[in-house]
Symmetry: C2
Amino acid sequence: MTVAPLDACYLKITSNPNPSVPKPNNELVFGKTFTDHMLTVEWDIETGWGIPEIKPYGNLSLDPSCCVFHYAFELFEGMKAYRTKDNKISLFRPDMNMKRMNKSAERICLPSFDEEELIKLIGKLIEQDKHLVPEGEGYSLYIRPTMIGSSNGLGVSIPTKAMIFVILSPVGPYYKTGFKAVKLEATDYATRAWPGGCGDKKLGANYAPCILPQRQAASRGYQQNLWLFGPEKYVTEVGTMNVFFVFEDSKTGKKELVTAPLDGTILEGVTRASVLELARQNLNPSEWEVNERYCSIYEIAERSKKGELIEAFGSGTAAVVSPIKEIGWENEKIDIPLLAGEQSGALTKSVAAWISDIQYGRVQHKNWVRVVAEL
Amino acid sequence: MTVAPLDACYLKITSNPNPSVPKPNNELVFGKTFTDHMLTVEWDIETGWGIPEIKPYGNLSLDPSCCVFHYAFELFEGMKAYRTKDNKISLFRPDMNMKRMNKSAERICLPSFDEEELIKLIGKLIEQDKHLVPEGEGYSLYIRPTMIGSSNGLGVSIPTKAMIFVILSPVGPYYKTGFKAVKLEATDYATRAWPGGCGDKKLGANYAPCILPQRQAASRGYQQNLWLFGPEKYVTEVGTMNVFFVFEDSKTGKKELVTAPLDGTILEGVTRASVLELARQNLNPSEWEVNERYCSIYEIAERSKKGELIEAFGSGTAAVVSPIKEIGWENEKIDIPLLAGEQSGALTKSVAAWISDIQYGRVQHKNWVRVVAEL
């Protein structure tokens, strides 16, 4: 028996009879406003992928015994489409998201799909709603591809039905006034991920348990928590982002950009990978080292005391880079310097510019940018 | 501002106009058939718990940005109602499930509720569908209280809306021919739960990642996997059940019933607690020890070689007790004896009888059994 692959050529489009007008940029709240259409494709273990449909944005109707409600058969991606100066709409490294989405699916026995076909379908969806892609630096269209198990029944077993849906949200900069450096509380009473677990996959299961430590950090005046791991108290991630530190050796003057290695406990961030690639390409190796290595909160505290901790930032699709100005750790406060009168350090600012220049088409990058629509 | 507590006195009932007739017992598949009605109650962070409703079983309609689909804001309970010889329908230790449900909710920032009120509401739901509670040893009504986050929007934050729903499934014995001893494969390449995680809570997040190791065990001829933890390779759970081992000291003849301690990585099973309580009450302490302690796969293999491993079983609401006859571990097979011509050891059989005698009302137990309907 053959099962059907995901195939964009069967796409069926039903237009929304009530097209919306774009909201003013200043009314956009992250992930709260959605466009007129959504993409859905259903899968069945016997027949494979069905007809992809673009249709008016609307509710999903599911049996209360559906496995997505009980056993967290769900995963997602976060991507963005950018409107360039010459009115093209382009995706940033969609191949990376699709690859990760298939890896997430494999980990929880949801179906795999042809990555290029889903990129094509997402392109068609964006084409349909292209008038709602906001214009301006820091504005973009957030794209949320999601896959859920949709078979009914309470036995804990492999889903026999699933669904991909994609929704689009016009968004502004994560912080309205550009960068705003955040304060983190280091968390060692809760653990985000573990070897042999699934913390490197973008599963719903990794997110709900993150809220309590975040909330507790917030109650003490911190915007986010910083996840530590193990007796060594290695720094792993910040909230739901990857995290980078910049050190400067006080003797040699040599600088180091550090992030946690992909050991199975770290989300394989697309922004993380992009920061590393751009840093390796743009920074002078006689002045800089770029390292994926373990780094403990003890090292960070110690190097801060020696004046060697010079920057820190989180990286993720939503905020791109998010500068860090302070870490609360036990009863200490680890201060992280910012440029005078600004909300980030020098490298953080450069990294943000390198990436946004590519995203908004001011710097051409053939492999990372894919145009999906023109206005 | 006061928010409304969950209150059963506001219950609104809408009867299903098409009541179903009970299926023959031999057609009941676990968690596949549901009764005519469901219970729903919605919650809002501003106003608290709304009107509880019993209404015809039917689909949930949710926005595709609903947080349950993206961040696994979901938890559940598994309970059973039993039909006794004198045609009463009773719940087994519902207070334990309600307490655990609130602990699960707290862990992922979903709302708490008055436990007695939800038991009352579940009782009313069962009353409504009491003609569908199957009769006979091993048959019961499986009850699935579920709570989901239901607010819309893609920001990872505390749900501002939630919903409890309860559905009912008439079920037969987990294995049609009574007990059937299972073979387990010990898993050390994947980890179910870890300190600082949430493996002790009944969250959806703990279940989807369990399927892959189960599937891999099945591909090698094992019905379930046995979860190990850490470099010590402590035995923690079997599939989605707690696990017990019985040892007999070859020198002293003293027996020991062992299960993993509640250290935050072990689901706080109601059946587990009941097995421990009944064993402590019914077994002669001069012959038996009942211990919650760490026990490694190395100890199990070693004691098997010495002939000291005499029984093993899983415990959970669905199967009650599930005898184990073999564990595959690296290239070894650890054999576990069964009674001649039977599918379990002697203690496993006794434990199953102790519990089912209480569940079916053959032995009275005031604190553990609550009658909710009469036929």
